[in-house]
């Protein structure tokens, strides 16, 4: 067993989980909404990209570029039409609505695309690798990880260096006071969900190119994303990346010992962190 190899592959896998988690973290940070359909939305986006690739014959990256604005619009509309109506002090309605959405999406995809496993074809990139001397890494995992870092950099930049980010933070702190300053919290929420769906598109692109997917695997992605967010600590995007890496390394390590233990060891790592640091490793938000 090559420990360095396991560590490197685990870290790179963590990049994918961080991509799953960044959208969830963003939405929760701004409106305290836990979207139980997050995983299914990733799978939905993967099917959308696949559809564009197969009908227009485009390169997957261009297809994702085309899909992203559509996903933004979908997220925006979802927030405007559905989620804004149920947001409030009671956490029950948004949870139940997104749970209903999760089941509806899964079965809608099942009807539309059947239960067959699919993959977004990425050509030679799928198997290309880079020899770094001590370890060899695949281009695809490397690109995934770099994209995760890039997405988090971009989100942090939006949050802390733009007027929109200021509005995000103000609404997150206190929607009523923010609205006194001329911010429309519901509009801000819609933009935030739209933005989260753009991140979801990036996550879907790599999910679809790296491995097979089918309509039923959304909930498991939601769980990985959630674990990464909690390990990292609420409100910290870099923490989310760290959380993703911890899950990724734990899974790779577990799989190296016994392939059946891959998923389990990721969950156990999460429970361990929850036991030792209930608020995560880098908590920022108070709630």
């Amino acid at each position: 067993m090559n420990w360095l190899d396991i560590l490197v592959q685990g870290v790179l896998l963590g990049g994918l989980y961080a991509l799953f988690a960044a959208g969830l973290s963003l939405v929760f940070g701004i409106m305290r909404l836990v979207n139980l359909a997050h995983g299914d939305l990733i799978i939905f986006a993967a099917f959308a990209i696949l559809l564009v690739v197969s009908t227009l014959g485009l390169n997957p990256f261009f297809a994702a570029l085309l899909t992203a604005p559509l996903m933004f619009a979908l997220g925006w509309a979802l927030q405007r039409v559905v989620l804004n109506r149920v947001l409030g002090k009671d956490i029950l309605p948004p949870l139940l609505v997104t749970f209903g959405l999760s089941v509806a999406l899964q079965n809608g995809l099942l009807e539309a695309f059947s239960a067959d496993t699919r993959r977004i074809p990425a050509g030679p990139l799928e198997s290309a690798s880079l020899n770094l001397g001590l370890v060899t890494v695949g281009w695809m995992p490397l690109l995934t990880f770099l994209s995760a870092v890039l997405v988090i950099l971009a989100l942090n930049r939006i949050f802390y260096a733009t007027a929109l980010g200021r509005a995000f933070r103000a609404t997150s702190d206190d929607p009523v006071t923010a609205s006194l300053m001329g911010i429309d919290p519901k509009g801000i929420f819609a933009i935030a969900t739209g933005l989260a769906m753009v991140v979801v598109t990036v996550a879907a692109l790599y999910l679809g190119m790296r491995a097979n997917f089918d309509p039923s695997i959304g909930p498991a992605r939601l769980i990985y994303a959630f674990e990464a967010v909690i390990i990292g600590g609420l409100g910290s995007l870099w923490g989310t990346l760290a959380g993703g890496i911890i899950i990724g390394v734990a899974q790779t390590l577990g799989a190296a010992i016994n392939p059946e233990w891959q998923i389990l060891s990721g969950h156990l790592a999460f429970l361990l962190v929850l036991l030792v640091r209930p608020r995560g490793l880098f908590p920022r938000a108070v709630d």
Binding site: V34, A104, N107, L110, I223, E227, I263, D287
Partner: protein, 351 residues
């Protein structure tokens, strides 16, 4: 007349009488009903019990769990363990299911209660997944592919011989009747227990914690302890239901026993559509659910798609469900838990 606080209403008393009649009819039903009706009723009664328990958690306790399949699954597996490993009678092994679920609920609560609000939901889901993956490693009980109850165990279930003689039916049908009676007993017991709970001090405390934990704390209610109590009670009962369901099915696999769709999604839809936070809600909900299932049975995924969309529509337009709509129009309460002041007559103009 002395002013008194009461929860009693005329509709409530009538419901009680009607319920007694219904229970008597339910007990006598196997004498007339076909086997498929008995099986359908078994399904309805077990789903109703699961829904009542989830309603107790989410609707009254404010604990939205998406991981109740953990307790169904562990309860079922504990019953299987009792039968296969220790040679117990399947029916007598059902209490093991309750005990196992209770034992699992303690670490689950320990972890999940560390997660505030909405994250509690996914936390319970993670624990259910961990339990499923661990149980799939249990090779003596079939590992990932599952196993069946041995024939010698299912053919000698206590009471089945008597039922066979009583109704003059085949052994398999007699087993269904026994499972149906147990499901009826469990459903009645669960509803009665929840109703009694909500009418006493604990129920009042529960509502207070759900509505405002800080305010409840300030009047001396230990919110943490109440949440623990409700979570453990619901888990243990859910484990019993799980064990009973798999006595009837007689075949188990980790994916089926820990299915989030079968044991949590359906249950949530039943409660949401019927009306959350009311005892009447799950009763109405399970009837709608059964009707939809019968109507849409041939359409596969469309059925779940429809259920999901209906649940969203209900949360958007009638957040207290169908029973909420009925109750708002008519003021009807079949299981009154609201405390009202009676014995005072207000004169015109005075307050």
């Amino acid at each position: 007349m002395q002013p008194t606080v009461t929860t009693r209403t005329r509709a409530g008393t009538l419901t009680g009488l009607f319920a007694l009649l219904l229970i008597a009819a339910g007990l006598a039903l196997p004498a007339f009903a076909s086997r498929s009706l008995i099986q359908d009723l078994f399904f309805i009664l077990t789903m109703l019990t699961l829904a009542q328990l989830w309603n107790l958690l989410a609707g009254y306790g404010g604990l939205v769990s998406v991981g109740q399949q953990a307790f169904v699954g562990i309860g079922a597996y504990a019953m299987f363990a009792g039968v296969i490993l220790w040679g117990m009678d399947p029916v007598l092994a059902i209490p093991l299911g309750g005990l196992a679920a209770l034992a699992l609920a303690i670490p689950t609560a320990f972890f999940a209660f560390r997660l505030a609000g909405a994250y509690f939901a996914i936390g319970t889901w993670v624990i259910a997944e961990v339990t499923r993956l661990l149980v799939a490693q249990w090779k003596t009980l079939g590992g990932g592919t599952g196993t069946s109850l041995p024939r010698e165990a299912t053919s000698n279930i206590i009471g089945v011989e008597t039922i066979r003689a009583l109704f003059d039916v085949r052994e398999a049908a007699a087993r269904d009747i026994l499972a149906y009676w147990l499901a009826l007993a469990l459903a009645v017991l669960t509803i009665a227990a929840i109703y009694a709970l909500l009418r006493n001090r604990l129920g009042l405390a529960l509502a207070a914690v759900r509505d405002n934990a800080e305010a409840a704390n300030s009047v001396g209610i230990d919110a943490g302890r109440i949440r623990w109590a409700v979570f453990l009670i619901a888990a243990a009962m859910t484990g019993l239901v799980g064990a009973l369901i798999y006595v009837q099915t007689a075949r188990i696999s980790p994916d089926a026993a820990f299915s989030v769709t079968d044991w949590t999604a359906y249950v949530i839809f039943i409660v949401v559509i019927g009306g959350i936070g009311r005892i009447e809600g799950p009763i109405l909900g399970v009837l709608v659910f059964y009707a939809l299932q019968t109507l849409l049975a041939d359409y596969g995924a469309w059925y779940l798609l429809t259920l999901g969309l209906i649940a969203i529509a209900v949360m958007l337009f009638a957040p207290r469900g169908l029973w909420g709509l009925i109750s708002d129009r008519t003021g009807l309460q079949l299981f009154p838990v609201q405390r009202r002041l009676t014995g005072i007559s207000f004169k015109g103009g005075q307050t």
